[in-house]
Every structure is written in C-alpha cells, then in structure tokens.
Symmetry: C2
Subunit: 231 residues, 2 copies
DNA sequence: ACACGGATGGCACTCAGTGCGCTTCCAACG
DNA sequence: CGTTGGAAGCGCACTGAGTGCCATCCGTGT
C-alpha cells in the first residue's frame, strides 16, 4: 500500500485544529504550515488546493468505488450493485465518526467547502452513472435511466448520511442508509436481496392489499410496508 | 423591472469573446475590463466572481423558480409541480440557444466552471426539495422522498438538456425534457398527463394481492408489478 | 567518497478578490 | 440657478491562493 507520509497527516491535523478554533476562511495556508512546521510549498505538494485538505481520503474512496464497479460482472443486479458501491462511501465516513462530524459542521457553514463537496459528490455520481450506462447499454432510454438512478442513489445516501451526521454519529448509520437505499430500490430496481423489513416466520400470517389501478407505485409499496408493520 | 445596465451586458459580451478566442483560464479580469472599457473594480460590482459572468441569468431564473413554487397551492400534484418548475430552467436555456451552446462547450472543458455549475444546479435542486418537503410534511420518509425525487428530476432534466446542447440546439429541447421527466413521473408520481403506461379508466378495476407474511419484499413487489401489467 | 534521485524549503511571481477613498454625474430641492 | 446628497464608477493598495524555478538536504547504491 501507499506507505505513510507523516507530513500529510500532520498537515491535516494542523489544518483542522486551526479550522475548528478560528474558522476556515480565517486560516491561511501560512498558518497551517507554520503550525505543522513545514514549508509552505510542501502543502501544495500534498493538496492541490486549500479545500482538498478538508477531504483528505475521498480520492482514495473514489478509486475504491471505481475498482469495485469495474470488477462487477453480470451476476449482480445493477441497482443493487450501485447501492453497494454507495455503501463504500458510508464506510469511509464511519471509520472516523468524530472526524466526519467535525467536517460536516465545517462544510455546513462554509459556502466554499459546500461547493467543493458538491464536485466530490458529483464524481461519485458520475462513477455510478457510468457503470449503469454500461449495464443498460442497448436498453431504451438507458443513459437516462442510468443518470436518474445514479442521482437517486446518491441523494438517498446523502439524506441518510446527513441525518446520521446531524445526530453526532449516535444513530446507526448503516441502518439509515439501508433504509434510504431500500426506498430507491423499490422505486427503480428489483428489491434487495435481504429485505430491510423483518421477516415473520408464521406461514399462516397473510396480508391483503387492494389498490385501484392508476395509483402510483410508491403508494402501493407504502401500503404494503404499513401492512407489514414497518417502522 | 430591473432597468437595463448596459455595463453588465458589455462585460458579459467582452468576457465571452475572450473566453471563446483564447480560453477561460487564459483570460484575466484585466483583459475583460480593458476590452469592455471599464474599470476593474466595476467588474466585481456586477459579478461577485469570475465564474459568475459565465452564468449571468441563473440568479434570476432561480428567483423565478422559487416564486413559481411559493405560489403553488395543494391543487397541483407535487411531482408534476416540480417537473414544471424544472421546465423553467429549460425555457431560460432555450431563450438563447447559441449562447447556451457556447457556454456548454466552455463548461465542458473547464473544470472550474463545471464545479461552479454544480453549485448552481444544487441550488435549483434544493429549491425543488424544499418545496417537496413541504408537500410531503407528515408523510413517512417525507424528506427522504423529497430529496430523492428532487435529485431525480434534476438528473432527468440535465440529461435531456445536455443531449439537446450536444446537438447544437438542433433537436427539440421541450420534447426531450418532457420525455425525460415523464420517466421520473412514472417512477415516483402520478402518471404524466399523457401517461407512458396506458391507464385503465374502469373504476371497478382492482388488484388484489395476497401474500404470506415472511415472503421477501421483492416477491411482493414483483407480484404487484405483474398484477399491474407492468414491464 | 561520490553520484544520483526524490523529497523538501525558499523565493518571486501572477491573479482573483476586497476595502477604501476619490471623482463624477445626476436629480431633487431650496 | 446653485447646492447638496447619493448612487455609480474609478484607482490604488493590499491580502492570500496557487505556480514555477532553483537550491538544498538526505538516503542509497556503486
């Protein structure tokens, strides 16, 4: 693996210390390198811009995701596969909960960081869309479906991720993301392999759903989930 | 209305002339203001940053969209409403096809402009999501559904918009966007005005699904889709 | 010991963006 | 008609991010 450059970590630590105690815009590169005890030029050797120091591991995570998708064969259901790919991002956030929460609070109030985060998220979305475009090749409206599903997966993932970050990492991130992605899968793809709802084992227990044709699919699913005693 | 500041238009014209003939990054603010014959400081009075001159009318369009959504009552179906709101953006692009195509080519190759465009699109998406959150208030997973649907609408709109821009404005932008948004509506909301799937009007037409509890969720949905005659 | 290559530091430079004070112009008001 | 007050524009100096270039340091192989 990439050996460990202690300088990079030192820069991240120094940067976050200053960002948290005096704010992002109030901290200059010179402040960071002075605290880290390195030369100014070295900062830009490890991070192409000031924003990059806030997202030090997304580049690696994006590489992981593209690798994960590139080894996918046809045996996996496409929507399921991109949902699993999205979970890789969650895993990265979950490896350092306190760091993630601190960063969340930072990006929430600094417009420049929010904009940068968007470009990072966009690259994840394009990776998912590219994979789906490949799987949907030849299908009618394949690229449209790929783009829409990728966007929906990212939105669901982010919705759950932000809810978890707002709880200071107290809630169960995995469960929240599973639930959110489950919604997308019921809307677009074949449902998940292990459904999120608990499975009762009583074979006599039956549910009857009646729906007029013309009702939207999500309403039907919602009725069924309610009948199953979800939530 | 805002009277017309000729200076603003002169700056946009000068900027695009230089951007097209020598590239965005190769053009400095001083070049622009020199060509426009105005002071450097005046540029930043009309545009807070160099990127803003590339998207001179998005601020107004975003205001139009929020206004459009804020006057919406409960008489409109929510998903239909946000699709109509998205069409406002298309209309703006369609008012100046050649300008839009030039800008598209510019943003396609300049990473900084792509990033800025993302933040613009993000604000549209948040406007749609905020509206849907209001309409879905109280509904189970209301904010999740709002975020996902807003993202899907934006993705579909952008897919069609880009396809139109790539055709140099030759194709029918409205038809492409209608088609793309129709896909989202069939997935999430009530079917579009001219539904993609034929709608039976017989009110007696009902579907009864019987499922033993314990069956996996995907089997249930599969049964329902089959009963609806989908796919 | 010496040569070499990668990692680092120092320095000067460009350019985006900001704060401030000055001029200019126009319009309302006496 | 003259004054005044505010908005629009201009000039200038300054900060800070990001870059190119070259000197330096250090570990390694010969």
């Amino acid at each position: 693996m990439s050996s460990k450059p202690p300088m990079r970590d030192a820069l991240v630590a120094a940067a976050f210390q200053l960002f948290l105690e005096r704010g992002y815009e109030q901290t200059t590169i010179d402040d960071i390198v002075a605290l880290a005890g390195v030369g100014r030029r070295s900062f830009f050797r490890y991070f192409p811009s000031k924003e990059d120091v806030v997202f030090p591991d997304h580049e690696r995570c994006l590489a992981d995701m593209t690798a994960f998708l590139s080894v996918s064969g046809d045996e996996h259901e496409p929507v399921q596969r991109v949902c699993d790919a999205a979970r890789l991002v969650l895993r990265m956030y979950n490896e350092n909960p306190t760091f993630s929460v601190q960063r969340y609070r930072l990006t929430k109030k600094v417009p420049g960081l929010r904009a940068y985060e968007l470009s990072v998220v966009w690259r994840y979305e394009r990776a998912l869309a590219a994979y789906l475009r490949g799987r949907f090749a030849g299908r009618r409206d394949g690229t449209l479906q790929a783009d829409v599903i990728a966007a929906a997966v990212v939105a669901a993932h982010n919705n759950a991720l932000r809810s978890w970050l707002r709880s200071d990492g107290q809630r169960d991130a995995g469960a929240e993301v599973d639930h959110a992605l489950g919604y997308v899968q019921t809307a677009f793809g074949h449902p998940p392999a292990q459904p999120a709802v608990e499975q009762r084992q009583d074979p006599e227990d039956v549910v009857v759903v009646v729906s007029r044709r013309g009702a939207p699919m999500w309403r039907v699913v919602q009725e069924i989930e309610a009948a199953f005693g979800r939530d």
